[in-house]
Amino acid sequence: MSKPKPTLESTFCGIKCLNPFWLASAPPTNCGEQVMRAFDAGWGGAVWKTIGEPITNVSSRYSSIDWEGRRMMGFNNIELISDRPIEVNLQEIAEVKRRYPKHVVIASLMVESKRDTWHDIVQRAEDAGADGLELNFGCPHGMSERGMGSAVGQVPEYCEQITAWVKEKARTPVIVKLTPNISDIRIPARAAKRGGADALSAINTINSITGIDLETLQPNPNVDGKSSHGGYCGPAVKPIALNMVQQVQSDPASALPLSGIGGIGNWRDAAEFILLGCGTVQVCTAAMHYGYRIVEDMQDGLLAWMTEKGFATIEDFRGLSLPNVLEWKHLNLNYKIVARIHPDLCIGCQLCYTACWDGAHQCIHLDRKSAVPDTTRTPAMVEAETARHISTTPIPKLDAGTLGHSNAVTPLERIPRVDEHHCVGCNLCALVCPVENCITMERVDNGLPPESWEERTTKGLVSPAARQVMSTNT
């Protein structure tokens, strides 16, 4: 029986989408010509580069973090909103919508915090044909110094007020873009919801200084020897974004249709955001790095995964992982796993060994050669032993015995052993191991029923003092 052919078409807060892949409000959506090429490449929507009173930008504007030879693992910008006249942007939106009626164009807006000004820009954007509005309450640099962007997003009252002003006028869905530069993202999310927002998008960029040039002692990006904090994004911020998405989606007072943003570069990232409740995802850094063409595999890969999993639509799996994120106090304390090293896969790098000794619980040992387990031998003792070893270049003529010696098999003494009685199941060894499936974390049946901290506390099994420590930490 053939599985049903899945579709990426969906509806997000009332807006019909060809697929959930939108370009975020950023340089890739700066003008109509770009957006049309993006639509040709397969993007389902574009959130226009934020429209407002034109600004003047600096040069340079971007900087990034490379990671062990990979470029742009983290990306930072100090570019402001659109530097093009409002009228030009709106004319181009109209043109794009005329040519691409089925594609989604969202107008990202940022104007000064006056009711009339917001009413005016909302009216003009919708008249141009925008399918929806995104209120930029997130931009953390430059604009915030002028009382806009994250300066609004960081104050719940402003956030609620401006959302409400926009809603007085808007005929299309209103999406509020949240800043992560707050202590609890649910606070501005709730404010936006109270203000009547139809949807949220998160996260905007994170305040950052990407680095200092050790030659010149100047920070990047360098503007005439100086810099300013910028907005951080790219693969590095994905875990932060996923957490904030989950927080918003798990909070009934915040939860709204959510467009996920933050480090999304491929279909896997997209699937993860959708599994935590996002209806669409927005991409910027990956498109700036590799171009619009990345959307082809985002569609292709997501559809293949949906087929494999039997999901026919985005809605079929949206939010499915949300119930799996709990507060710590609800986790099962009786769940026990231990590390198992598979000797046939072990290459003998001993990274798990050093990680466990220095970074975990000293329960991986190099004692496979000894008659009885030896948990007293420290890393320093192991190294000292090797340092005393005299090795020579094996010369066939001189070392007949070493002929045929092969390096293909890991010597037994280099394969670490896990002391399962002391292993706390922390995962560290499996995380540092460079070989797939060489270290697996396996469940040990301890015969105990599931029990959480909260259950233990309720049963009175936890001392009052320990309870207090817990409560101050939460």
Binding site: E68, G348, T386, I390, T393, P396, N407, R414
Partner: protein, 452 residues
């Protein structure tokens, strides 16, 4: 220090030689070195380190490349191996560090340790920085080192770092021994060896060149110094013991290699036969190709399974067009005034493993030059010719017997290392021997001092 010119400026560079013997393994540039350095797993108690005779902390120097700490990387290398730049080029890493790399075990290319090591050392030279070690506070002690090859140089460096004077005596006009004169130019150019020794000499080493040590002068050195280190390498070249061996066009591999490296030999005749199938024989055969020979043969008594050359050296020779004749034995070198051909007899293996000539299988291999590469004997006569009846130090199968951990010989005041003790291994083995002996001498001298 005397007013001498730097060693690497005492020779005339020959562009033609450099063109013929270009790098076998070209250097990495920074953009290539970085990702390669990042590929290193940073193993704990790494097999590459323990397989290196000098125990260079390979992951440490590689991670320093990755972090951009190039001076620290070079210091890590030099701290373990004072000839780290030479070894980066001359080492048979396929059977050492790179051979031990754990990457082999999951279908990945090993880390290019040698090229990374060269990158670190080249960067160090480029920076113009001085040797990152200071001589120790002068102790007033001194050691005579016989031979100025890798073993003695490494020993001298350890001694100088401990404030012990090092006097090196060598018959040649320049230091380095086989590191300077005996490594194929496409692996280690002569000038690079000298450049490294020039760096090392910043520790204040006293060189005495053109000095041959005999029994009498050895006795004098023994009196004048607190200890003696023997880093004399191997001496006499083995001979075939067949007719025609004294013809002018019969030479040996080491002379051929030293000849072209020093610029004295710039060409070879069209047809060359190399006798022997060790790594040096391969170097000589490839040199003959590069020097213009059109037909180069290696002849060997046994088969490819028994040859002592590393398999990658064998492959290299084949790629250069060297032809191999197995199971043949030279019986006569033909020629009047010069070599015309080499008479060979085919050999058959018997059940007990010995090889016997096959009657009537004789044939002639026409050639203009015969290069012998069938091993060397130890040059130890001067050690036993002393008036005193017994030999200075105990020998075993022609090698000087030492305690491997300290380099000390049967005579406590004499230490030794390198080819004369290990039978002829690699530069890195000699460096390791010399290093252990230097530390051993210092420890022994301190012990003497405490007792006195």
């Amino acid at each position: 220090m005397s007013e001498r010119a730097p060693f690497d400026q005492q020779i005339v560079l020959q562009p033609e030689l450099a063109a013929r013997f270009g790098d076998l393994h070209p250097p990495l540039d920074r953009q290539a070195a970085m990702p390669e350095a990042n590929r290193c797993l940073f193993c704990f108690d790494a097999p590459c380190t323990s397989s290196c005779p000098t125990h260079i902390d390979v992951p440490r120097f590689i991670k320093k490349i990755a972090s951009g700490n190039l001076s620290g990387s070079a210091r890590t290398i030099l701290d373990a191996n004072i000839l780290g730049a030479s070894c980066a080029r001359a080492c048979p890493v396929e059977v050492l560090c790179e051979g031990a790399c754990v990457m082999h075990r999951y279908n990945k290319e090993p880390i290019q340790i040698a090229r990374l090591q060269r990158f670190a050392m080249d960067s160090f030279y480029e920076s113009g920085a001085p040797l990152p070690f200071e001589p120790g506070v002068e102790t007033g002690l001194s050691v005579a080192l016989i031979g100025a090859g890798p073993a003695s140089l490494a020993c001298a460096a350890e001694l100088r770092r401990r404030g012990i004077r090092a006097n090196l005596y060598d018959a040649r006009p320049l230091p380095g021994g086989l590191n300077t004169y005996g490594v194929a130019e496409y692996k280690l150019p002569l000038v690079e060896s000298l450049r490294e020794i020039e760096l090392l000499s910043q520790l204040g080493v006293d060189f005495h060149f053109g000095t041959t040590i005999d029994a009498a002068s050895l006795a004098e050195l023994e009196r004048e110094h607190d200890a003696v280190f023997l880093g004399i390498g191997l001496g006499g070249i083995h001979r075939l013991g067949i007719a025609g061996e004294d013809l002018p066009s019969v030479t040996n591999a080491l002379d051929l290699i030293a000849g072209y490296k020093s610029g004295e030999l710039t060409t070879v005749p069209a047809r060359v036969v190399v006798v022997g199938a060790g790594n040096t024989a391969i170097d000589a055969a490839i040199a003959a190709v590069r020097l213009g020979a059109t037909e180069v043969h290696i002849v060997y008594r046994r088969g490819p399974e028994q040859m002592s050359a590393f398999s990658f050296e064998y492959e290299h020779a084949r790629n250069e067009g060297v032809k191999f004749l197995w199971h043949v034995q030279p019986t006569k070198i033909r020629g009047d005034r010069s070599v015309e051909g080499l008479e060979l007899t085919k050999l058959a293996s018997t059940e007990d493993g010995s090889i016997i000539p096959q009657q009537g299988s004789e044939f002639l291999l026409a050639t203009d030059l015969v290069v012998l590469s069938i091993g060397q004997a130890t040059h130890t006569a001067f050690l036993s010719e002393h008036r005193n009846e017994r030999a200075k130090v105990q020998l075993e199968r022609g090698r000087i017997l030492i305690d491997r951990a300290t380099g000390q010989t049967s005579n406590p005041k004499f230490f030794a290392g390198g080819d004369c003790t290990n039978g002829g291994r690699e530069v890195v083995d000699a460096v390791a021997d010399g290093k252990r002996a230097g530390i051993g001498i210092a420890a022994w001298l301190e012990e003497q001092h405490v007792q006195a």
